[in-house]
């Protein structure tokens, strides 16, 4: 059985509960055990770093120790968590001086960063550790050519110099892992220019106009190219897309939710009641019916 230490982040435990629900639901179907780490701290969210980079590094070194104790890799379900943890891991494993300083502080709490747990995003765990055929086999409700737009966000695979080892060498300028997933679920992936563009989440509080313009561009282009649904791996992107979506938007789902729908999982188990951009009837109309005997 595939077992991983799950780093839950902050948003999924707060404003994006559907992400955790859908991730667990899908993991169960695929035989993945996720052990939620409940003593971890926020990764710093790309904001603490701008205030005190050392403090952020210290907290993240501590975060790794929990996965190290379980002798498992540290799995993330948020783009920014992945980016921050990957940067931290890189610094701690290449800069011996800084690592010593950090471990000196951690000693006081009987902790040591060892570097034996790598930071990996759930999307790439699925891609690298779980066979693609295994995913296809679980599909009870193939999406029958439904046009789906993947939205990657930016932190998932950047900076690529550091993250390429965790992302199966995904190119930030021409990614393909979500397209592959969509195809495996029976859908038709839609290509559009801003699929790897930033959604503007991190400055949305004080630059809402920029987020508004970026989100409109993303959703607008996806729709122009025929997409009926948009999927994303990141709770920050998801929150920002839903917050700034134009009045007439397409449903914005997590890819785990899309997987769950294709697997025939029940609506509530995927947290779909939480998505603000989803109207149940409209979304179900896009999907084929699951026969009784195939339902989970």
């Amino acid at each position: 059985m595939n077992r991983y230490a799950l780093y839950p982040g902050c948003n999924p435990q707060m404003a994006e509960p559907e992400l955790l629900k859908a991730t667990y639901a899908v993991a169960e179907v695929l035989g993945i055990e996720l052990i939620k780490l409940d003593r971890v701290s926020c990764c710093g969210g790309a904001h603490l770093q701008d205030r005190n980079a050392f403090q952020s590094l210290l907290l993240n070194a501590r975060n790794f120790t929990f996965a190290e104790r379980l002798q498992m890799d540290l799995v993330t379900i948020c783009n920014t968590c992945q980016y921050i943890l990957a940067e931290a891991y890189h610094t701690l494993t290449t800069d011996t001086y800084t690592r010593k300083q950090i471990n000196t502080r951690l000693e006081g709490e009987n902790l040591t960063f060892q570097g034996t747990s790598r930071p990996r995003n759930f999307l790439y765990v699925l891609r690298e550790d779980i066979d693609r055929t295994a995913v296809r086999q679980q599909v009870r409700r193939p999406l029958r050519g439904l046009k789906i737009a993947p939205f990657y966000g930016c932190h998932l695979y950047s900076p690529s110099m550091i993250q390429a080892v965790y992302t199966d060498n995904e190119s930030p300028w021409n990614p393909g892992s979500l397209e592959d997933l969509i195809s495996d679920l029976g859908g038709d992936p839609v290509d559009y220019p801003s699929r790897n563009q930033c959604c503007g989440f991190h400055s949305s509080l004080y630059n809402p106009r920029t987020s508004h313009d970026l989100v409109h561009q993303i959703i607008g282009q996806a729709r122009e190219n025929g997409a009926r649904v948009l999927i994303t791996p990141c709770p920050l992107c998801h929150a920002n897309l839903e917050a700034f979506a134009p009045g007439k938007s397409i449903p914005i789902l997590y890819y785990q939710q899309l997987m769950g729908l294709a697997f025939g999982l029940p609506w509530k188990s995927l947290g779909l009641q939480h998505n603000m951009s989803v109207r149940k009837r409209e979304l179900l109309d896009l999907l084929p019916v699951v026969p009784e005997f195939l339902r989970r």
């Binding site: 902050c10 926020c42 701008d50 980079a53 980016y83 930030p172 300028w173 400055s203 939480h274």
Partner: protein, 334 residues
Amino acid sequence: MAPDSVRLNIFRYDAFRGESHSYDCYDLTYHQNDQLLDVLEMIKTEIDHSLSYRRSCRHGICGSCAMKVNGKPVLACSTPVRDLVREFGPKLTVDPLDQSRVVRDLICDMDMFWEKYTRSAPFLEPVTVQASSPGPAAAVSAEPLDDGKTPLIPLIFSGSTNAIDDADHCIMCGACYAACPVVPLQPDFLGPAAITRSYRFIKDVRDAHPGRLAAVGEAGSGVWECIKCLKCTEVCPKQIDPFSKLSRLHQEVLRSGSSPGGIRARHTSGFQLNLLLNGLLNEFPLAVFAMRFRMITMLRRGIRMFLHGKLVINPLRPRSRGYRQIRRLMRRSR
């Protein structure tokens, strides 16, 4: 080494003719070590002499030949075609850095880019060297050379040069500026190159120009406008990592107290306070803390979130089970 095939769609435009742009399509073979510029040169000298682009040094130091391939800004002279094909497949679209500023084919107007560079006061204002005074001048001490006729050259130690961290290596090619999504949306934003240039002087112990930090900390144009998408770091052909420089400036701006205050500064300090309290972040109380009365603009969204079960009002949730340990470590790393 057998040559390989590629299809190039190249952007063509002439401001003088004023019509809309077009793409010229070429099916070509290229060799193992051909750079994009080599292929453009071949097209220009052998097929269409009118194709125009900037280029000079051919080895990635002058910065002339920045352009976009499938949306990605690159230096044409230092980007092997084989790498582009590996990343994007055998169909490549070559565009100028900024279509909205194109003048001729792949040549854009770079005036705005240079203006922002000039605005960042990109020159050293020398500190007056006094061997016995404290402060930045202490890192530098004068050592007179032999006969006293030869000039004084201050000593500078590697810690000081390392602080600049290669920011002076920027060749001002414009790739980062073209990759930045904020630039077209917020025309006042200085952009990664100009901010990196400011960083280079802020970190130079020999510089005494006042107000550099305040300038990059200004709302509307400085480091606060960055959305942290990392595209600049992705494209920099000299691997300078402009975002990390910007992030360090962010820290300095906050430390020096010369940030614009208001919602921006409160958001960052509120974030830290929230983590001290719970170890995990709750966006709702943070937004209240940072935005204060402007929260009223988010009322509709707040209601929708509440109805969808997305609002956690309790400021003590979510809370990590390790919150006490987290608090201790945070206190000890102020």
